[in-house]
């Protein structure tokens, strides 16, 4: 099963956000609840946790700025 990784809404801020850093390398495994990437939202940097366990497939580079809800990768769960 594949889980989309999106730039999430955090708090009240509804503008665009920036992917700052991936904390899990492309193709590596992540466990649900572990930090997955860092993003900057409304001038605050924050760690975003993985919502699922599986292999991370990145689809955006650090510095990527986009509206909330934009997909930046997927987590592919082991069958």
């Amino acid at each position: 099963m594949t889980h989309e990784v999106i730039l999430p809404k955090t708090g009240m801020y509804e503008g665009s956000v920036t992917l700052t850093e991936w904390l899990v390398d492309d193709g590596d495994d992540v466990i649900e609840g572990e930090p997955l990437f860092v993003m900057e939202s409304d001038k605050v940097e924050m760690e975003i946790e993985a919502e699922a366990s599986g292999r991370v497939q990145q689809e955006a580079e650090p510095g990527f700025e986009a509206p909330i809800g934009t997909r930046i990768g997927v987590i592919i769960e082991a069958p």
Binding site: T10, G11, M12, S41, V44, E47, E51
Partner: protein, 678 residues
């Protein structure tokens, strides 16, 4: 569990959950957790307006307390209120729709996550003012006590609220009146980013119960069975009439203050370990039923709820002002105009007669306030001999008893909050604030609670209460006993504001205000209490929102309310006798809603307007009227609208200064003559 103070009695030491109760409790906790976990995912997508706070970690508290409550029992909640809603039986689909601000939401989209309510389930609202719900629960318990219907009220609040004044005032009031209320403090260790041990003087908030002579218990809020047992005992005590309990539930805030909180005040390690202290997972470990099937059922329900909410209609923008005030029309059979009468009486007698008539007619009417009986608890002849600072409530305790005529501690926030809660739970309270200048002490209860409840909850709440206040300058009472504050109250949507000038209008309007379904601020000018005039006997009502022509005239309209009407009449007489100017006097009677139709009709005829207002000039009723007249009658005005107001200062003490502060008949006469010259 540890008992920090106790009350002797024959109660059992514990109240164990049966196997069925354990299963029901776990199912409730799983529903709450399922709701909140799903919310994290859906909120991230960015299509839910605003922001949300989740209940992760406190599930045993809502579930364990509400297990003992029926739909008739009442709870008040906090900005972190989803768990309380679900445990009290609120419909999940309507909850999700509310989070999306849709017309199909529990509050028709007017409330959102932080102001979610379901009155059909006795859920009187999440409250986004920290501590805001505590006094409302006290009031609901007061309603239960007066109506004798056996309901129990529970207030959920956080550790941060335990440092608010309203917490202390509410506990004191509940204790002295021995009300059927249970205070449940969910101590999650944080008031947003501030650690409880920094902000709170005691290690256990439950010990604060000792200060109010009530039972105080610390429970492990991560342990459903502990919460269930202690909440059961407390609710049983309340139901038996043995008074309130403070339960402190120590819980873990598994997540941030709000969804998306970067939690800079917790280290990564602290955040992770908080996530692992999961009371639902540990309780589910020996569930004894098919967890997967239960989870699948919850997921299905949430799938449907989110799909329905996203497709649901928005509220109609044309309805933006709907639910501010009640839409129920007054019953015409009971609404009669003041009969003409030969009988004379004073203003204070008029207020007294209105209160007595209203209490005779309706057992739900109670009055409460400071010194309204006097000598509370001392028994006759001392108790009741005073009868209020101005004597307006004298004799009422003899006729109606101390159950319905309640002297309060000097605790404006506490008893006005209780009046709001009592109104929401079925009474028609009249709260006496003695002096309007004291009302800022209970501004939250007036502004955030009474005035907003109906609107925020999409029309579910009815808050039929009257706030009587003596007000006005001229009595040499100085800066903190003389304000009108009418400019503040009239600016608040959801309040009605009445300021009668004569005994006859005071009686008819107060009777109407008590039967009104909205909160009414009833302003009694102190200089009027001893004035006399025609005073019809019996029960009659005058409409709120309707002005009257007090004196007919052709050349200028003098527009006023309260004591300023007498000033206007004096000026009109002088204008007629000394200057042959015919002035019309419009008595507004009600300041909100303003009867602009009567004002405009008068000014259209006279083509000149002087507005007299005893408040300071900025953003005043005078300003509002001047703007209204300018907008609607501008092309027919012969002169600019004149405003005669108080000085832009606090009310001074020294007599020459106070006289200079107040508007005078001289000023009104001069303003009119100036208009006629131009």
């Amino acid at each position: 569990m540890k008992q920090s103070s106790g009350q002797s009695g024959t109660e059992p030491a514990t109240r164990q959950a049966s196997a069925a109760a354990r299963e029901a409790g776990l199912r409730t906790m799983l529903r709450i957790r399922g709701f909140e976990d799903r919310l994290l995912k859906e909120f991230a997508k960015g299509d839910m307006p605003g922001f949300v706070h989740t209940y992760h970690g406190a599930e045993p508290v809502a579930a364990g307390v509400c297990a003992h409550l029926s739909d008739d029992d009442i709870i008040t909640s906090t900005h972190r209120g989803h768990g309380h809603c679900i445990a009290k039986g609120c419909d999940i689909s309507a909850m999700v729709a509310e989070l999306y601000g849709r017309e199909t939401g529990l509050c028709r989209g007017r409330g959102g996550s932080m102001h979610i309510a379901d009155f059909s389930r006795g859920m009187l609202g999440a409250n986004a003012i920290v501590g805001g719900g505590i006094s409302l629960a006290v009031g609901a318990a007061l309603a239960s006590e007066v109506l004798g219907d056996g309901r129990v009220a529970v207030s959920f609040f956080g550790d941060g609220a335990a440092n608010q004044g309203i917490f202390h005032e509410s506990l004191n009031l509940a204790s002295i009146w021995r009300l059927p209320v249970v205070f449940v403090c969910e101590n999650n260790g944080w008031a947003e980013s501030t650690p409880t041990e920094y902000a709170t003087s005691v290690a256990d908030i439950a010990v604060r119960a000792q200060a109010y002579d009530m039972a105080g218990v610390v429970v492990d809020g991560s342990d459903y069975l502990d919460v269930f047992a202690q909440a059961g005992l407390a609710i049983d005590r309340a139901r038996r009439g043995e008074g309130p309990t403070l339960i402190e539930s120590k819980v873990t805030r598994m997540r941030g203050h709000y969804v998306g909180d970067p939690e800079q005040y917790r280290s990564r390690e602290q955040r992770r370990s908080a996530r692992k202290l999961d009371p639902v997972a540990s309780f589910a470990a020996d569930a004894g039923f098919d967890l997967e099937a239960c989870q699948a059922e919850i997921d299905r329900e949430l799938d449907e709820a989110y799909a329905a909410a996203r497709a649901a209609p928005w509220p109609d923008p044309a309805d933006v002002e709907r639910y501010v005030l009640s839409e129920r029309l007054p019953d015409p059979r009971l609404s009669v105009a003041a009969p003409t009468t030969e009988r004379e009486g004073s203003y204070v007698q008029a207020v007294h007669e209105a209160l007595a008539e209203a209490m005779r007619a309706d057992a739900r009417v109670i009055i409460l306030g400071e010194d309204i009986a006097g000598g509370a608890g001392l028994g006759p002849p001392l108790e009741g001999a005073m009868g209020g600072t101005f004597g307006a409530t004298k004799g009422l305790i003899e006729e109606f008893g101390s159950e319905r005529v309640r002297d309060t501690p000097i605790s404006e926030a506490g008893f006005v909050g209780a009046a709001v809660g009592a109104a929401m739970a079925g009474l028609r309270p009249v709260a006496d604030i003695m002096w309007a200048s004291f009302s800022p002490y209970c501004f939250d209860q007036i502004f955030n609670q009474a005035a907003k409840m109906r609107y925020m909850f999409g029309g579910q709440a009815t808050v039929p209460m009257v706030l009587r206040m003596a007000m006005g300058a001229g009595l040499r009472a100085g800066g903190q006993h003389s304000d009108t504050l009418q400019q503040i109250f009239t600016s608040i949507p959801g309040l009605k504001v009445v300021a009668p000038a004569t005994p006859a209008t005071a009686k008819g309007l107060l009777l109407r205000a008590i039967r009104d379904d909205d909160p009414v601020v009833f302003l009694e000018h102190m200089s009027l209490y001893r004035t006399r005039g025609p005073l019809p006997e019996g029960r009659y009502e005058l409409p709120i929102g309707k002005a009257a022509i007090e004196r007919r005239g052709d050349d200028v309209s003098l527009i006023a309310a309260g004591a300023a009407v007498l000033l206007a009449l004096e000026a009109a007489e002088r204008l007629a006798v000394e200057h042959q100017v015919s002035a019309e006097v419009v008595d507004l009677r009600t300041l909100s809603p303003l009867d602009t139709a009567t004002v405009e009709a008068s000014v259209r005829r006279t083509r000149r307007a002087v507005v007299i207002d005893e408040s300071p000039p900025r953003c005043s009723v005078a300003s509002e009227l001047a703007a209204t007249i300018s907008e609607s009658v501008f092309d027919q005005l012969r002169a600019p609208v004149a405003r005669i107001t108080a000085a832009n200062s606090p009310v001074p003490f020294s007599p020459p200064l106070e006289d200079a502060y107040l508007p005078s008949a001289d000023q009104v006469v001069d303003a009119v003559l100036q208009m006629n010259r131009d």
